[in-house]
Subunit: 422 residues, 2 copies
């Protein structure tokens, strides 16, 4: 292990130098080494013994030190876990891709496990030729690859009536961002031949809940995909294997999983999931319907209640995510004082249409309490509103489409808490 | 389950229509349904029983029907699996992202499992202030997010002497493509202060093999990252958790995993892995050294020996991947006749610098034998050579840097085989 060649001094000399540098303030970070740091002075077990071979893990899993990075559900939220939700651990992620194993789940009859050889997709209704596609048939159409966020319309829904859940995983974790490979839905519809009267489609799922949603034909013929891959590999069962509908920028409930049928019709169907659910109850007792597009939204993922600042005052990295169902996110601002002053964040990483964007704000923390907020602006010029601005119009009876600004109060110990600011 | 409302006819009527359409040739695909297709006529078990709830899989795994999509090793290739390689199942993937669980592994002392709280990164040698960073220190520097391919220099190395391994997983599976989040190495070097005489760095791994490679300071200060996330989550153990060096476009062996030390010096170190290994033996007995950049390369992933054409003649999708260590891939051509005639492929999906690109070529297969090839052109104008063009200059004694054009012979049954064409 000991390196003998090279132009530099001995290992012992190097260690002395590094230790001597320990107290110095360092540009951009806080690199230092304390006297007797066991990580330096003792040989670590991973340097003195062999690890697993290349035959040990045909499909790899995260390392044991990351066991806490998992989807979590809230047992009291629903009557049964087969019709419920779990949440993406946003506070532990970075970049813009959500790993498949951590994409939040929402299902209404459990995660169906479908034999792809037995799966069929039917297109019927107002078409020239009703069609039934096998998976092999679908794989013969041209494919596209696109990165899109999927957000449940109920994401942050608990927050309408004030700060409730203490963790960005629970307040904002019903969103994920994936690179899909799929066949544009219009190719399949064109193969069946949509009649002139066909102005809507109904998408139906093949699981026990038989989810159904109505979608205007313009959207169906625009950018919807029948996806079979996510982040390069087959869809996961809980995400609709072998095929799901991708409805870019629109609420997640419309992205019908285990897709088995597309019916073409001349009006919306008014199914359960678009009447009693996924409509927005307004203060006057009436309900908004067809609120499909997910408006621009952002949230700081670190620090956050599950991810405190542990290093004390000094150079500190704030990071978070932003997305819009109407386009890209050219700008996010960050506030340290509950929205009084705003600082332009640094966007980094790919900017795709209807995809999560990553932002950073680096600053020198003086150790005093913070009221952290982020505010997204999308490529249409729309600016993410405050929660109170939303409430003024929509009241507090709604469950869906809360894209208001989130606030984390950080105390002098670096602990963050979900709070409301007026 | 039976839908009663809506403007269309009964389910039985729809099925009849779909079945009647079964024999018709269909634009863009081969959608049809045979009489008595059990997938349509019988209720499937996934529609009549509940799946797993949201508390069943905190970290999700692929569905059972995809169990064959795994990394595979070749036991006879090396003496021991702790100093060996396994291969990415390229034939089963689509898009450009490699899922973390399927990224090929190469290690020299097994996959080290390092406690991140005990891990340190030292920077020493020709610097003003030798430094030791904890993981927390590193997380206080600004981060970047970039998608890069990593290719082992020995990828396709067995093919120098002719077609050997029957499967794209084995001939080309030592490449993966990941979105990394990391700190630019130059920020850490700047914190230490590189002396004027410092023209090279040595990167050293913290595992039992203590991998070391020399890298010119220009590259280190350009686009190298000290990465801690891959595709959004923590690095996998086998990919260098908690930190690895990312050396965009350069051979994978230089991307030192479990990175523990960067030494700055005034000349290359000539370590084992840059003298006896990772040099290219030429016909005259001399060896090329410092052949770091991975030249433009492409391969058809489907059809391929592990992924035959099962659907018979008619509309057929050819797909594959292309990449270059010198830039992007604006163009890939596909040949059906062993390089006599070339057809421009359709590029689809994001085009990033030094990243895998996805291409497709859709055509009507007449059922006669094919000699499939793909040929990448990169943004510098470089054109992927044939294997024989490479051999004319480099001979057949080399192991590394075979970026020659690959040929799959497809017979009339759709079975593909690894062959050589003159």
């Amino acid at each position: 292990m000991t390196r003998k060649s090279g132009p530099s001094t001995t290992r012992r000399g190097l260690l002395k130098g590094a230790l001597a540098a320990g107290g110095a303030a360092v540009v951009g970070g806080a690199a230092r080494a304390g006297n007797g740091d066991p990580a330096i002075l003792e040989p670590q077990p991973w340097r003195t013994s062999l690890g697993d071979g290349v035959d040990a893990h045909p499909y790899g899993m995260p390392v044991e030190y990351e066991r806490h990075v998992v989807r979590r559900n809230v047992p009291w939220l629903t009557a049964d876990p087969v019709s419920s939700v779990n949440f993406t651990p946003l506070h532990e992620l970075d970049g813009i891709i959500t790993p498949n194993g951590l994409c939040f789940e929402r299902h209404h009859g459990g995660a169906a496990v479908i034999d792809p050889g037995m799966h069929r997709l039917m297109i019927n209704g107002l078409v020239d030729t009703p069609m039934v596609f096998t998976m092999e048939d679908i794989m013969r159409f041209p494919r596209e690859n696109r990165v899109y966020f999927l957000e449940c319309a109920a994401n942050s829904g608990m927050e309408w009536r004030g700060a409730q859940l203490n963790g960005v995983q629970f307040t904002h974790g019903m969103v994920h961002n994936v690179m899909y490979t799929g066949v544009p839905l219009r190719y399949l519809l064109e193969a069946a031949g949509v009649k002139t009267a066909g102005t809507w489609i109904l998408a139906e799922g093949g699981d026990a809940s038989a989810m159904t949603r109505s979608i205007p034909i313009e959207k169906a013929m625009d950018d919807c995909l029948v996806a079979f891959k996510m982040n390069g590999e087959a869809l996961r069962a809980e995400q609709g294997y072998p095929i799901r509908l991708v409805v870019p920028g629109w609420e997640g409930n419309m992205w019908v999983k285990w897709l088995r049928r597309i019916e073409v019709g001349d009006r919306p169907w008014h199914q359960r999931e678009e009447t009693s659910k996924y409509t927005d109850l307004m203060p006057d007792g009436r309900a908004r319907r067809f609120t499909w597009v997910m408006d621009a939204k952002s949230v700081i993922t670190s620090p956050s209640p599950q991810k405190p600042i542990l290093h004390g005052p000094g150079r500190t990295v704030i990071t978070g995510i932003a997305w819009s169902g109407r386009g890209t996110i050219p700008r996010v601002d960050v506030s340290l004082d509950g929205g009084v002053n705003w600082h332009r964040a640094r966007m980094d990483g790919p900017s795709f249409d209807k995809s999560i964007h990553r932002f950073y704000y680096e600053f020198d923390w003086d150790g005093r309490p913070l009221l952290l907020q982020s505010r997204a602006m999308d490529s249409t010029g729309y600016v993410q509103p405050t929660k109170n601005q939303l409430r003024e119009i929509r009241g507090t009876e709604s469950i869906y489409h809360n894209n208001g600004i989130q606030t984390w109060a950080v105390n002098e110990k670096g602990i963050a808490e979900n709070v409301e600011v007026s």
